[in-house]
Amino acid sequence: MTYAIEVEKLRKEFKSYSSRSGLIGAFRDLFTRNYKIIRAVDDISFKVKQGEMVGYIGENGAGKSTTIKMLTGILTPTSGKVIVNGMNPHKEREKFVQTIGVVFGQRSQLWWDIAVQESFRLLKKVYRVSDRDYKEHMEHVIETLDIGPLLDKPVRKLSLGQRMRCELAAALIHNPPLLFLDEPTIGLDVLVKLKIRQFLKEINEKYNTTILLTTHDMSDIEALCERVIMLDEGKIIYDGSLQKLKQNWGEGKQIQFQFRHEVTKEQLISLTNDLNVKWEAGEQSHSWIAHVRAQDMAEVIGKVVAAYEIKDINIRETSTEEIIRNIYEEGIVHG
């Protein structure tokens, strides 16, 4: 089995300068500067198989982007081993980048002032894609992403959603076996998001493209990735299937009751004291949320409905977002 990405004890440290305060401090900064070493990525190791779709998640500043930059050969690691597509990204940069596609959601890689198709044409030359391959592959991409009508417009006239679809197409011109997506759906509306997800699934199935995705939008991960790698302060705190993460952390249900009249927490607790229920105030008045195990759900509802007058009931599963939030709050992943 060959791996698309192999990372071992990867570390990246930055020197971070801090300014002294005041005028005198500024003068002193001219001569000597205070700095401390910040470890953005701290000895992480993981492997990704060809054809896998992996969600790489973490809070802002957790080290996601730094990892991606090392994997794409932009940054040199401080220490550790990186092998991507069988190559060392930094050493064989020009040969290596031929085998990857990258989309940075916050940064355009199309040329701002010229029509999209001119950018495509340049990239086609840059990646030395033959006319035949281009036609065969890109016609499909352009059609699926529905960007045909945008090709003759300059990039600066496109909306964010339109631009993002073009960016994605641009990253795929050379049909790379490995695709890095750094927050590709940031700021996009639901329809565009759905289209992009659909498209990513399709190329993954068709070409067995490996995809590493960072995002803050958990619905992206849920829709696309079976595996997630979770990062916190430069360390991997979870690496495994999304399913398992949900089972371990999100097995309970939430029931939201909207009462007609005021009910106190004490009343609710005494009502359900023989069951394992956690009560929490809802956002609206007279509304309470019960966190219960799935097997207790019917009994809790039965008791509450019998005792109080109810306007509305809502049952939800714990969302992935809440799971992630819980994990970050507690810091470690059990199991």
């Binding site: 930055f14 040329w111 010229i114 340049l122 030359k125 840059v126």
Partner: protein
């Protein structure tokens, strides 16, 4: 190679998108040339020649020097500085090409654009207003073309060097301004090198700047003998090669030290 040629084409297209900027540029250059023309007319007074150059040769020198500047001048130093500052250089590093080579080609695309939309119409306008002496000798035009291309390369390399230096300072505005001023002064754009004091001329033999403006302009005004022309071209070619070394050296360090700003 095709990708580099494509880049020239793209840059040409980009310049075309903003072509109106250039018509005002012609006016500014014409005013500059006019100012120097009147200055030099006053300096010459009744004399027929100074330092072996006639007043007409001098006017031609000034006009050609400014119009050649339109070709060799580019803003790739500023672009590199900006791309570093905004972190866009990350995008450039995930492309299978040499970043600096691509920048050079963009400069060339810009230069070719200015040559057609700026220098040529500008020269026609200036030629109508001031007495110029445009040679009909094809050899001179040929040497001039080679020399201007080399001057483009020297100037662009200096731009690359200045741009890469901003990797280390992260805010290189002052550096770039100083570089621009030094080049305008020492390249012979404002004053031909032969007008500088002897010691300064000696010193400038060891600097690349006269290869940017002085040599091509002297060739064009036929102020150089054949020997001097060949020496001049050799001087330029040698500097093109020498400058590769510090650029590659600094670029290698810069890439290793690279900190992508802003995420």
């Amino acid at each position: 190679m095709a990708k580099y040629i494509e880049m020239i084409r793209i840059r040409f297209l980009m310049m075309l998108a903003y072509r109106t900027n250039y018509y005002s540029g012609i006016l500014i250059y014409s005013i500059n040339i006019g100012a120097y023309y009147f200055l030099w007319s006053a300096i010459y007074g009744g004399q027929s020649s100074i330092q072996g150059m006639s007043a007409t040769q001098m006017t031609t020198y000034v006009a050609v020097a400014w119009m050649a500047r339109a070709f060799y001048f580019n803003n790739i130093d500023r672009e590199i500085a900006m791309e570093i500052k905004e972190g866009k250089v990350a995008i450039e590093l995930i492309r299978p090409y040499s970043y600096l080579g691509m920048k050079m080609m963009q400069g060339l695309g810009e230069g070719i654009f200015r040559l057609f939309f700026f220098s040529v119409p500008g020269m026609v306008i200036v030629g109508l207003i001031f007495p110029l002496q445009l040679t009909t000798n094809l050899h001179t035009w040929g040497y001039f073309a080679i020399s201007t291309l080399l001057s483009f390369m020297i100037n662009s390399q200096l731009n690359l060097l200045a741009g890469v230096l901003t990797f280390f300072t992260l805010n290189g505005e002052g550096l770039l301004r100083a570089k621009r001023f030094v080049i305008d002064l020492l390249s012979g754009l404002i004053l031909p090198i032969s007008f500088y004091p002897e010691w300064a001329q000696q010193l400038m033999k060891y600097l690349p700047f006269q290869g940017i403006s002085y040599i091509p302009s002297m060739i064009f005004t036929e102020s150089f003998t054949n020997d001097e022309i060949l020496q001049g071209l050799l001087f330029q070619a040698v500097w093109v090669i020498i400058l590769v070394i510090p650029i590659q050296f600094l670029w290698r360090i810069a890439k290793r030290k690279l900190v992508i700003q802003g995420g």
